[in-house]
């Protein structure tokens, strides 16, 4: 009995082996019979693996081959093949291919079957590659437990290599597509977003709020310059077509120092290439007039620029504001300059100015606050002296297509805070349809405004960033906030979340050590996770359990490992990893004769000099504060020493 049972087991095992061998033989025979398509499929799948392509690229390639197939069938029909016989054409071509191959005419055989084999092979390769990705993503593929993780890392390297090659190819990454979308760079990988070769940002998203996070040396400036250039180029095109107002870019760089000035110079040259007629660099080369604000707004701005403290000091703040109001709203009209304003902060001047006013209110106010006027004057004299001439005009936001405002937030925080407050108030008034803030454009000229603020939290003590956000939203301004880290985005956690969650234009995340809060905003996605049985050796069996579970859309580990020039663009619960294409700035213009700065066409007298970026040692006199900057040599230094880390 036992012998019979053992015999039965052996027979069953033998039958199974024979069945498996038969299946393998049939499979191999099918592969051999379909050799041309199999070869194309293998090549296509290997290429997709090597280049880190998604299967969609192979399907698209197969679709592009269909005209070839149609032409081939048309040629057959034109050659006398009756329409019913066309159905047998693939079979006949396949047969002819084998005959030619048997006769040794391999090239002829390949040409005969190519119209059929190439699309079929690409399709099969795409399906095979798709299955491979699926099995690895679900954890059901690979020989070792670590295979899916290794596969993912390897594919990331391949995808990065392909993206880098794409941005290195001249002309392959334009700034704008035909539909006006802005191209940020070459796509590395996408999750829950369309898998395109280029990362494309529709223009309306640049007209919405965006957040950019990345530490120093990760390519944040390169990304920002590209986005600004895209905004300007598309905005100018729409304006030229009469479909939108003229764009206006205002950058508040709250770091200051030499680096900010170099970036300003680079921005000017990049923007010039996109059609911006003039880029004003404030306060080095251009000025704005704080005194152009309407009196009520001017009082509020001037009062906020001075730090008054809280508690008992609030009384002093009220006195200060009243004295400023008296000086600004004097019957003779608002002050026109710093000197004019300071001269009014005098008890005698105020008494004379309000002497003829029948209403007794101001007179009483003057009597009660006369003892404080000299203190208030002292504070404003010190503050306005430290602010310099940048806010003393002439000039307004309407005078240029782009403003690069440098606030010395690192060196002089108090001054930078006051400047930030004044600039934001000026821009808000301008956006609300103010009289152009001294613009030559005339009153009420509307502009499509993008306000980009870098490290604004450094100067936002007196103007919380969410206030700026809310105010911008109500005025139709787009705000782009950038910071080096999540804590740098705003003063407290509530503000940070408020800023990040209202970024309806998307969030750009470059390498940063703590990306979790932002990554979490992208949400989770459902993936299938498979557990498989180990056989005692490091190989898996084909038995196990699969279950759906949530995994973060944005992997914080990938963010922490991003290289220079790589970014993750988070939008609507999906993410696109992108290799940003650096914009090469044009050479600086030649300097004009010393002391002569050519204003932009149409600019008002005293408008910012627009073409003073000059090259050459002759223009760069030693120690001359008015000397222009030398040409940008970043591209050459990148060639020699690699991109700046």
């Amino acid at each position: 009995m036992i012998r019979r049972y053992l015999g039965f087991l052996m027979l069953r095992t033998l039958a199974r082996i024979i069945w498996r061998l038969f299946r393998v033989a049939v499979f191999v025979a099918a592969l051999v019979l379909a050799a041309p398509a199999v070869l194309v499929a293998a090549y296509a799948a290997a290429l997709a693996w090597f280049l880190g392509w998604p299967p969609r690229h192979l399907y698209r390639a197969a679709a592009w081959c269909l005209p070839m197939l149609a032409a081939w069938l048309a040629a057959m029909a034109a050659g006398g093949q009756p329409p019913p016989g066309l159905a047998a054409a693939p079979y006949l071509a396949w047969l002819a291919m084998w005959h030619e191959a048997t006769a040794g005419s391999y090239l002829k055989a390949a040409v005969t079957v190519a119209p059929l084999a190439i699309p079929l092979g690409l399709l099969a390769g795409g399906l095979a590659w798709s299955w491979r990705i699926y099995s690895m993503e679900t954890g059901s593929g690979g020989l070792a437990p670590s295979a899916p993780a290794a596969f993912d890392q390897r594919q990331w390297r391949h995808q990065v290599r392909t993206a880098r090659a794409r941005i290195a190819a001249p002309g392959s990454v334009p700034l704008l597509l035909r539909d006006g979308s802005v191209v940020a760079g070459a796509t590395i990988r996408t999750v829950r977003q369309p898998a395109r070769r280029l990362t494309v940002i529709p223009y309306p998203r640049l007209r919405s709020h965006q957040v950019v996070l990345g530490t120093t040396g990760t390519g944040k400036t390169t990304l920002l310059l590209r986005l600004w250039a895209g905004f300007m180029a598309r905005g100018m095109a729409l304006h030229a077509a009469g479909r939108a107002p003229r764009p206006l870019l205002v950058v508040l760089d709250c770091k200051g120092g030499a680096d900010s000035r170099r970036i300003a110079d680079r921005a000017r040259r990049v923007l010039r290439a996109t059609g911006a007629a003039s880029t004003a660099i404030w306060p080095d080369e251009a000025s704005l007039s704080l005194w152009a604000l309407p009196p009520r707004q001017l009082v509020s701005t001037l009062a906020d620029m001075v730090e008054s403290g809280t508690g008992g000091a609030a009384y002093y703040a009220d006195v200060l504001e009243e004295i400023v109001r008296l000086a600004v709203e004097a019957p003779c009209g608002p002050p026109g300059s710093t000197a004019d304003f300071l001269s009014r902060l005098d008890a005698n001047w105020l008494a004379l100015a309000y002497a003829g006013v029948p209403d007794g209110g101001p007179a009483g106010l003057l009597r009660s606050s006369a003892g404080h006027v000299s203190d208030v004057a002292l504070r404003y004299r010190a503050l306005l002296r430290r602010l310099g001439g940048g806010l003393d005009g002439p000039g307004g936001f309407g005078d240029a297509d782009a403003w690069y405002c440098i606030l010395e937030g690192t060196a002089e925080i108090a001054v930078a805070e006051a400047q930030a407050r004044a600039l934001v108030d000026l821009l808000a008034w301008f956006a609300a349809g103010g009289a152009g803030a001294g613009s030559a454009d005339g009153a009420g000229v509307r502009r499509d405004i993008l306000l980009a603020v870098d490290e604004f939290s450094a100067v936002s003590r007196r103007l919380p960033i969410w206030q700026l956000y809310e105010r911008a939203r109500s005025l139709g301004l787009a705000v782009q906030v950038s910071a080096q880290s999540w804590p740098g985005l705003a003063a407290d956690e509530d503000e940070r979340y408020r800023v990040a969650t209202t970024a309806d234009g998307g969030i750009w995340l470059l390498r940063t050590p703590h990306p979790e809060p932002v990554a979490a905003l992208a949400g989770v996605r459902r993936v299938v996770d498979t557990t498989r049985r180990l056989l005692g050796v490091p190989f898996w069996a084909h038995e196990g359990l699969s279950r759906a579970e949530g995994t973060p859309v944005v992997d914080p580990e990938i963010i922490r490992g991003l290289d220079v020039g790589q970014a993750a663009y988070i939008y609507r619960g999906g993410v696109t990893y992108v290799q940003v294409k650096r914009l090469v700035a044009g050479p600086a213009e030649l300097a004009g004769p010393a002391g002569l700065a050519s204003p932009a066409p149409g600019a008002a007298a005293g408008a910012p000099a627009t073409a003073s970026a000059a090259a050459g040692p002759a223009a760069v006199a030693a120690g001359d504060p008015g000397a222009a900057r030398p040409a940008d040599v970043s591209a050459l230094l990148d060639e020699a020493f690699g991109e700046e880390q």
């Binding site: 030499a258 050459g616 030693a622 504060p625 030398p630 040599v633 050459l636 020699a640």
Partner: protein, 254 residues
């Protein structure tokens, strides 16, 4: 003597001395071939070589070698205290010369040794000499008279500084100012060193810094007036600048 031999001898002379791996990179040959070249020079009495520190052996020119090159330098082996610095400067020169923009513009390097030789015994005690100068020729013309494309910085002279160790911010800023405000060539009469109103000699100074020195250099640049600060370029030293870079590369490969 072949062109490669001449180029190698001149390069070695200009840089005080070079390590074999850098000589190989400069001449575009394998290290074995560079070693053979150095051995031949030594046989001919033009050069000497020894293992002076970590990494590959050093090669430097003897009096006969310098005479053969027509260079008026004092023959001496590279000083032990300056080995790391010499290697860093050589790495910077090689990196620059490997950039297509450099060769396309026809730029050329003028090393510290040449500058020092021009000054002779007139180098003042506190005078600072850059580690090198890069000269960018003015745009030329084709035989047909058409202008040849040239970079925006054509006609400029750059000072090169390889910074391995940290100085004080004050000293670094003083050096930057000295370089950027100099108007005369090295070796010129004292009255021409700084002439008000005359264009400065160096359109910019390029600092190649180690990780340790970089913060100081950045702070020094920030301490300069804006017009000078924008003429200071700061980059990291190439990986091959480290004295034991060869060993590190081998370890990474294995």
């Amino acid at each position: 003597m072949s062109e490669r031999n001449v180029a190698g001898l001149l390069f070695t002379a200009e840089m005080y001395g070079v390590q074999l791996d850098q000589l190989a990179v400069e001449l575009g040959v394998s290290e074995v071939r560079a070693r053979a070249l150095a051995a031949r020079w030594r046989e001919q009495g033009y050069a000497d070589s020894a293992r002076l520190g970590p990494g590959r052996p050093w090669v430097w020119l003897t009096r006969a070698g310098l005479l053969a090159c027509g260079l008026p330098y004092r023959p001496a082996p590279p000083a032990l205290a300056r080995l790391a610095h010499l290697r860093a400067v050589t790495a910077v020169r090689i990196a620059l010369e490997s950039a297509p923009g450099y060769t396309a513009a026809g730029a050329h390097w003028r090393g510290e040794r040449r500058l020092r030789a021009r000054m002779g015994s007139r180098v003042p005690l506190r005078e600072h000499l850059p580690d090198g100068e890069v000269h960018w020729p003015d745009p030329g013309e084709t035989p047909a008279g058409a202008a040849v494309a040239a970079p925006a910085w054509a006609g400029e002279c750059w000072a090169i500084e390889a910074e391995l160790t940290r100085k004080t911010v004050r000293r670094t800023a003083a050096i930057m100012t000295e370089i950027l405000t100099r108007t005369g060539d090295y070796g010129c009469p004292a009255a021409e060193v700084r002439v008000p109103g005359v264009a400065p000699r160096h359109a910019r100074v390029l600092y190649l810094c180690s990780a340790a020195a970089r913060p100081t250099v950045v702070r020094a640049r920030d301490a300069l007036p804006g017009a000078l600060a924008v003429r200071v370029e700061i980059r990291g030293l190439p990986a091959s600048a480290a004295l034991d870079a060869g060993r590190a590369a081998r370890e990474a490969a294995t």
